[in-house]
Symmetry: D2
Subunit: 263 residues, 4 copies
């Protein structure tokens, strides 16, 4: 029946390892890679506005700041906005900076974050791209009007040209830059695939009754197991709790080491 689960399901997307690797750490690298491969832009000194300071936005901003870009943030959530402040970014409304920025990046999970009005006000050669959830963050449809000319300059790169000659550089027609114009490192794929495989194994092996027709978070211990399988690549050496320490902390020596909601 529509809208009703027939079997138990595991929400692997919200596991910590999946979240941090696919989002924070992977995007920190793929924003640079995607922009370089498509536009050869130099990051040093560029003014960039990043819409959204969740995990993806945090990753993009850290990388761009490190390479000498000046980054502005837009946010709707005061907690994320305050984090942006503490990390050294000005929190602005898009309109305040849209005329001056060299690059606009969306990472919101929202729609119509960059509107035709914003696009009209961008300066010549402004690069616009999306690292968020789908091709709705930038209102690309609004650019399909007769007075604007589209020119495909290379794969995944369109120049949208205004009547006065101004060009906006649109990447991947507003689809996800990290999927369209960058590659996903095998290391990240390995973490994601391991998480999915473990979830399936757990569902298959679980005694009857443990999971009902509902959506479950991956048990913390399995999340930790995924991480521990990937530590040897980094020659990382975990410390073991002594019996005495485990007792003091009220933990099992083999984990889980944190509550389920820990991020």
């Amino acid at each position: 029946m529509a809208g009703k689960l027939c079997v138990p399901a595991m929400n692997v997307n919200d596991s910590v390892t999946k979240q941090k690797f696919d989002n924070l750490y992977c995007c920190r690298e793929s924003i640079l890679d995607g922009l370089k491969r498509t536009t050869d832009v130099m990051f040093g000194g560029k003014q960039v506005v990043v819409c959204g300071y969740g995990e993806v936005g945090k990753g993009c901003c850290a990388a761009l700041k490190a390479l000498g870009a000046i980054v502005y943030i837009t946010e709707i959530d005061p907690i994320c906005a305050l984090q942006a402040c503490m990390d050294g970014f000005r929190v602005v409304k898009l309109n305040e900076v849209i005329r001056q920025v060299d690059v606009v990046i969306t990472c919101t999970g929202n729609k119509n974050v960059v509107t035709r009005e914003h696009l009209d006000r961008m300066k010549n050669s402004c690069i616009v791209c999306n690292m968020g959830h789908s091709n709705t963050e930038i209102d690309v449809t609004s650019l399909r009007t007769p007075e604007l000319t589209w020119e495909r300059v290379r794969s995944q790169v369109d120049h949208v040209i205004w009547p006065d000659g101004k060009r906006v550089v649109l990447l991947a027609e507003g689809r996800l830059l990290n999927l369209s114009c960058s590659t996903v490192p095998t290391f990240v794929l390995s973490i994601t695939a391991t998480t999915q495989a473990l979830a399936l194994i757990e569902l298959y092996n679980a005694p009857e009754g443990r999971y009902k027709q509902d959506v479950y978070l991956l048990p913390k211990k399995m999340d930790e197991y995924v991480a521990s399988l990937h530590l040897p690549s980094f020659d990382a050496h975990l410390t073991e709790l002594t019996d005495d320490q485990a007792k003091y902390l009220g933990l099992n020596k083999n984990g889980p080491f944190k509550p389920n909601y820990y991020r």
Copy 2:
């Protein structure tokens, strides 16, 4: 009766703003401040081991790395260990680096993380301090033995001297460095106090029956309210959702903007 709550309680400690500000952002500054005020140590080029890569450890490591220290991490939790790897830190067992490091910092919430055996193996002039939860992280008691001489060189700074002349520089007798040897910025106090005040107001104003004799997390919306009250200090400008966007995201335009477990 012992062990039983007579009134409802609010766990303000686990609210996001409290966690991030008192831990991550505040410790990022107070580790530098505490070490400078007590020892005048230069951070550039120093080898430092930080035990524990939770919020406090992440803050300490970010600051020390930024100022040119070489930082090693010890961890028991594979997820935090993997985060340390991705942030550019070697994850080691304490014994692997204890002979070579210039500074040892504990941020674990655990006890006896630095033992007498470790202290015996440290090099001359090694600085030892605690940013974690109490004075049990470093086994200071083990240093109160006849063969070791204690010399108070200034307030909060003891030299513990081995028979061969080796000195270990112990700060605040293993108590919290950030409380003993640094100051807490008024900004952080304001966030913490606001959170506590809002929790009390909520408990006082809540209609009968909303809270029972149990411990509650601060509602997400209040956490967001605390953050929003502090944004003007940074001249930060929040973006408002349009009706259409709020509907698309399934959110109220005034928040809460994230699930309760979001960190």
Copy 3:
């Protein structure tokens, strides 16, 4: 006779090790230390303008950026200004940001960089300090007028109070913050003292005629020697050129490895 050297002199101030350590690396730490000890200010999210992007300015800016401050630069030299751009800082005139910043830091070697007019326009609680060459960079004299009240709030910290109640926080009466309100690490002193001692030894031992009544730069090889003496503190291991490599590079295996003007 006035203005005439009677003996040879060595300009140790312009040796590389002296310049980089006393200026870039030392100031990177002492700006944080000096501000914390005097004002307990939190750096995260603060807007700071740094006047001058030479070695001292570069050090100050790197540290402040790393701790989450938003930093603006003023410069007179287009080369330094371009470097500031590439390092991710907005280059502005002081007037453009003076109303909005939380901290003003001078590192110019110039005089009257911060004038009474600037001071009049600062916002309440703005912190003003000098990391440059002397107490002339901030026009402190202009604040000694009857309508302004001075209040000493602690050692090295004055509140200058305008008739409308606005307070500017002046540190060390405009003298050098790093000397007045911070300490100089022994490591930096050691480098400076070694450089001076070697210069004296060189002058004393030099065969007659090598040095005339003039000012000389420390020979590059001695500069390198000062550095090599300090490498063991960091357990740093130098690589030696093979004979073949030395020949290829046209260098003596024992240095000097760079031309005199290399920085």
Copy 4:
């Protein structure tokens, strides 16, 4: 006649803007770009050794550190080695880390920095590339022996396979990675081309006798002029000296602002 200049020449290569842009700032970006385009490697957590800590090495290291790599340095010059220490890098001999690193990068200007012996000891999948001056830094010739198999896996990427199956990933056959596998931003080209054009104009316009048949450094003032022409791209606003300040500093208000040797 061989070895004798027939006309005056300008050494544009050693001008500040050329040096910093082509080397430090450009390489900071192209090391990431070159490695991504050829190998899709994830930088987070990777162990990297960079041979040489001059301008190119400094740029490479800053970028890799910022993206979470653990970077080791080899150096022959104690001054550069000490700078590496202060910037937070372990200075080692190549042999100390060659078995453990994931990436080897040469930036020395020297030859045979990575020898067959080093290549024999690298671990499986180690990436080797050159950002220095020519294809002699890695002894690629030593890999053309019968027991090793070369496999071209994509353009600019060879797997060199040892009899036991170990593969070393050699990029651009040891030629310059930044030229072979990355692109040069137009901004950097503009700076270089402007410097060259100005040098030619100066030589052409100079009154007879100003330049003889020798090699000259670009006058500082022209170097500053190149920089000033590029500031508007960043919307950077220079501050002008007042007459009084220029007199105090002993400078012309229009520059040059620094001595010729300033870097």
